[in-house]
Subunit: 275 residues, 4 copies
């Protein structure tokens, strides 16, 4: 069982929570705690042995924690996700492989693409693929189609695995902190289009990738994970793109792992990551 | 104040400790906890606001924790250290600079060298330097001289900053888990002499450095920190040595930082690092 | 076209080669050169624009280079490979994905497994899978079966993608510097069996993976690529294994990329890597 | 001897240069070559054995290379540098230590500070320190004082080792590609003031440092080297600053090493780095 708590800080919160657990004879396997001293905010993630009677635990915790406390008690089953893609195969394939071999910690419900290119790979893994083209339709209409498709499934998260359309604030509002994107740069450097071309022009010596939650501000949402790799003068923009795909895959995989294990707590535009 | 506790695990230990703190109106700034499930061993580091009446806190904690608990309550003043060196300047200089600018989190009491080469740099920083040659004397006599010198000072730790003599088990016994060494390889690869030559011969693509506590088994003590840097075919053993010095300096600095902030708990031949 | 040359060093070799190319109006895109000063050995990799009349170029180069020169002139088509596996899916899946999307720089001819576990994933990608069990047969017989299968195909390289059987020197002799293995440790640390358990016992703070050519000495062949990732006290051997799989996949992918682009020159037990 | 050439590309340039060297019986130790195919620009760095009669070599190379060729033939003595600082000690101390132990590959002529804080450390190393305050004087007057001081010495490079004043384009014009700065962020992210505060607000998971040549556009000059280190939610802006100092020191050291060994060729706003 995983318990995630976020509330205003006060003396004795750890004692309060651990007392409730001890009283219920629940053994703590790992406990990670953080206090943001600037905002006086308290964050806690507790992983416990075995399952527990969640029904009775939640009211017990509510009773002793501050009224503003956000308390989640999750069993450790897998999350359900929908993956959105365009044409690039690398992030999707990695997700499909992990999903197929049951190491994703989530179950892919379906893949939605605005191009047909990745239909074949989905079929090879028996994962439903839905084509929803953005061409010759308004953005509203496109997003309405998307939404319709998504609502046919139950999904905890939408994963944008190199989905190259910008989602409108209206669309994003439906899934607050539930859309995860991989951006192909070390944000905030090179936000927006063509980050590898931008990186090439600037002559940087490292390129990066950033996994973040999507908010209504483009490439401005809370960052989950970032990585970089070295590049040098011999890299063309195409070489950078090729090298970048390796870390895009790897950063997205890491971010999903963290999110699916309830290790990410969002506060304002920042994340607490209990790795 | 920093509280470090190590004992056998049982349900409710975090609650137990945090209750004691809450009762004493001590606010927790950060708490890091680890349970080694294989050995059922519990590790805790708590950093609290302000100082506290240590005299009364220790018995309170002893009363409620298992009888075998190792409890340390440290104020946050700086540790005292003695540095042992031979001829290489890089690790010592880094320590002297940090010591001079008060960012070492420890105070260098003196430097002891078995060569005179580094006397000058110590003098430039007004740090006492003692020459104790290993030449023309038995190991017993050399170590007895060392010990005599060390005992003139009060020191929490001995830091071997590229001290190229192997200390006898007898000597080491005087300072259990209080001698920190920097070994110029990624242990356990290339233990013993000439690790860069060994690395060159093997054609490795990464070289490393390891900071560890010294035990009576050569290069076998608990590891505190390790780092690597890439090398390639163009590196001669000398190039490797030169590149290696950079990470030796950096790994030792990191390890000292961790030790001096009471972030390292040793158990058997392994360390818990609350970074 | 890629030209790879290895010979004893002498003044003017770069001029010699580049003169031949200039005379044939062949434009150099990139040239990487290395002299091992200790062994007075010269290594060169030249990538040129367009194809060339290899038939006439080779004798021209032979005429002007030392008699002992090893000269390879490769067009830039893809290599052919056979992949050997046991049960773990991560390295094989990565190879199959890259093969499927034509970014492997090689074509997988078939996969041979000593367990049936990975047959399904091969079938999903329309890659022939051959089961050759090592059970209830002598090592000689097992390797003879392997060899028989391999010889039905044309292959430049055998890739051991977590193939958990040790190949005999006799077998290896058939494929000198043509078998690539991924070892799940930072060699030479933790050679042999159970490297993650060994790493756990030793309490290391980094774990690694090593891609190397297979020779008749176990885990002793020339190293192609190595990488590490940080671990800490909270990692069980199982956690290390899981984390290690990520770099095993990534190191093997990198090594294959280098080998398939003729960027690896072997000399003695070391490699020159023209990255 | 180190020969550095930059010119428009054409077939046979490597042959041309290496023929001249062979004719003069000069042995090549290492040769690094790069063609920027987009701009059809050729870059070459050759390190040779022994010294040579430079006087006769330069005209020989000029004769056979394109008229626009930029040719430098440098013996391998050390460069001369002047270091500019404000209050922070870490980069300067590292330079002073390497200078003192003769591993900087350059000789520090003097240090100029706009605060007196670092006078003491310079004196400890017998390096002249000049205080030139920016307070109560116009920028023109301040820079004129600076220039006056600098011109009393002979210096190949000015190193801004955490010099916190922005130099005017007029000043920079005096030292084209001869001023090296360390910026405390992963440029182009967080250019300008307070990068660690900016990084904290954005919630990034990596922070960086960038060494670059100074041009008349703030933080926009050609990048020499960059590095990053991971940070997390537990880092305050002050913690980031403290952690950042470690990589600032290390990136600047690396950049200086590369520049002082003539391994950096600048073209437009980008650098070719023959590492």
């Amino acid at each position: 069982m995983i318990i995630v708590i976020q509330c205003s800080d006060q003396v004795g919160l750890v004692a309060t929570v651990s007392n409730v657990l001890a009283k219920n004879i629940i053994n703590i396997i790992s406990m990670r705690e953080h206090v943001d001293t600037a905002s006086k905010r308290f964050f806690l993630r507790v992983e416990t042995e075995g399952a527990a009677n969640t029904v009775s635990l939640l009211p017990q915790l509510k009773e002793v924690l501050p009224a503003n406390a956000n308390i989640q008690i999750n069993p450790i089953p897998e999350k359900k996700i929908i993956v959105l893609v365009t044409k690039e195969y690398h992030c999707l394939s990695d997700i499909l492989i992990r999903n197929h071999f049951k190491t994703l910690r989530a179950a892919v419900q379906c893949v939605i693409g605005n191009h047909a290119s990745l239909q074949d790979i989905c079929q090879r893994f028996d994962i439903p693929f839905h084509l929803t083209s953005h061409e010759n339709v308004s953005k509203e209409s496109f997003e309405s189609d998307l939404l319709g498709l998504i609502q046919k499934y139950t999904a905890d998260y939408l994963v944008l695995a190199k989905f190259m359309r910008i989602l409108s604030p209206t669309f994003v509002t439906h899934f607050p902190m539930r859309i995860i994107n991989i951006h192909h740069s070390f944000l905030p450097a090179f936000a927006g289009a063509n980050p590898y071309r931008q990186a090439y022009e600037r002559g940087v010596k490292l390129i990066g990738a950033t996994a973040h939650f999507v908010t209504d501000l483009l490439d401005e949402g809370p960052i989950i994970a970032q990585q970089i790799i070295p590049v040098n003068h011999s890299f063309t923009p195409t070489d950078m793109m090729r090298a970048g795909k390796e870390i895009e895959t790897s950063v997205l995989a890491k971010a999903l792992h963290l999110v699916f294990e309830d290790r990410i707590l969002v506060y304002g535009n920042r994340t607490v990551v209990f790795e």
